[in-house]
Symmetry: C2
Subunit: 202 residues, 2 copies
DNA sequence: CTGGCTTGTCAACAAGTGTTGGCCTACACT
DNA sequence: AGTGTAGGCCAACACTTGTTGACAAGCCAG
């Protein structure tokens, strides 16, 4: 498969790198082929030649592997902190930091990217949670975990709310970790139809 | 103050209504003046005449008053659930539902809207939290609360992750309420230098 | 050196954008 | 009725976008 390394591989990589930065900084729609090409110091038409279209370039730019830790072998008591800490690493270290920022920024504006995020959720997050606790509950628990962690990413890396930015990594783990832990452990406080209890909501 | 009601007030309102819907559905950049005008069944130039520019229209469309409950007079034991429930109401009832969706969708793509969200945070959320617990800690606690609640909105109303969408309002309150409660109560579980406790995090 | 293929450049297209000015219509006031 | 003014529509501008095709330069095999 790894055929003769083309002479243009360097250009390809340069384009992809510039694209990741631009997409992360501006989101899908604001980032233009022309601006990406300018950053990479090449002609816009080259982007088209190597990636077919802007969509093709984007797809190549956001191909991500989260490499979540194996929750099955983790200490059940601190798995929430473990996952939170790993999440911070993903968002603060290359190359995933720019990719995730790109996904989040663009997902909120483009339906196609929303689908991509659902795939990441279903294909990488839920399976990780599946290896911990009751499998029947896994999607629900994964959803709750993601609601907290993506909210953290949103306020810390996109909206950059000062108090959230000010938190150190250790503080984030100490504050948010227990929340993730509780969601992962999954008390299922009150299903849809409790047998004999009173439902306070209609 | 309330001068003679212009004949065009109805048109103005129609435009604003269509704009809110379009902005909420498509975000700032995708929503075009032309599409909004088409929805309102009027000419695009009318939008310009009444709102000056697309930015002016947007500013008018996202003017929002959250009307958060007074946490000072609330039951301190269930304030987390109260705030979570109120948050759900905001996101599921007109007219705030479309406005908030618009803000969230657009904030992630436009820096100007990010600033607007910071203003809402600093001007409406933090003051509400300020009326509960230690004032010195308020921004930090408000940030954590918002990280959870905006993450909930993101996964439930924007990304529409199936397990999160499937939750009933009561279930959301039951699951997320305690998290908000814990953040609001603000144990400051473990600053930088814990006195004598064992820290499992490095 | 001479072909053929890759790599790169230039200019242009078609579509869609926000925005503007001119013109027609219809109401309100005298 | 006549007239001034506000409400509304049409066509066009200037600009940016993704995308395409023609054409020059550079490398490699013969």
């Amino acid at each position: 498969m790894s055929e003769s390394p083309r002479r243009s591989d360097a250009t390809r990589a340069t384009i992809l790198d510039a694209a990741r930065r631009r997409f992360a900084a501006d989101g899908f729609r604001r980032a233009t082929i022309r601006s990406i090409a300018a950053d990479a110091d090449i002609d816009p038409s080259m982007v088209m030649r190597y990636y077919g279209s802007k969509d093709g370039l984007f797809a190549a730019a956001v191909d991500v592997e989260l490499d979540l830790p194996d929750l099955a072998t983790a200490d059940p008591g601190t798995v929430g902190e473990l996952l939170t800490r790993q999440f911070l690493v993903l968002w603060e270290q290359p190359p995933t930091d720019e990719i995730l920022l790109t996904l989040l920024r663009s997902a909120v504006a483009d339906d196609a990217v929303v689908e991509k995020m659902r795939q990441v959720f279903a294909g990488q997050v839920t399976p990780a949670v599946l290896r911990f606790g009751d499998p029947a509950d896994a999607p629900r628990r994964a959803g709750l975990v993601v609601s907290q962690l993506l909210g953290l990413a949103l306020t810390r890396y996109v909206l950059r709310l000062p108090p959230v930015v000010a938190l150190t990594s250790a503080e984030v783990v100490a504050e948010v970790g227990p929340t993730v832990q509780r969601y992962l452990a999954g008390g299922t406080p009150m299903p849809s139809e409790p047998p004999g209890r009173v439902t306070s909501a209609g």
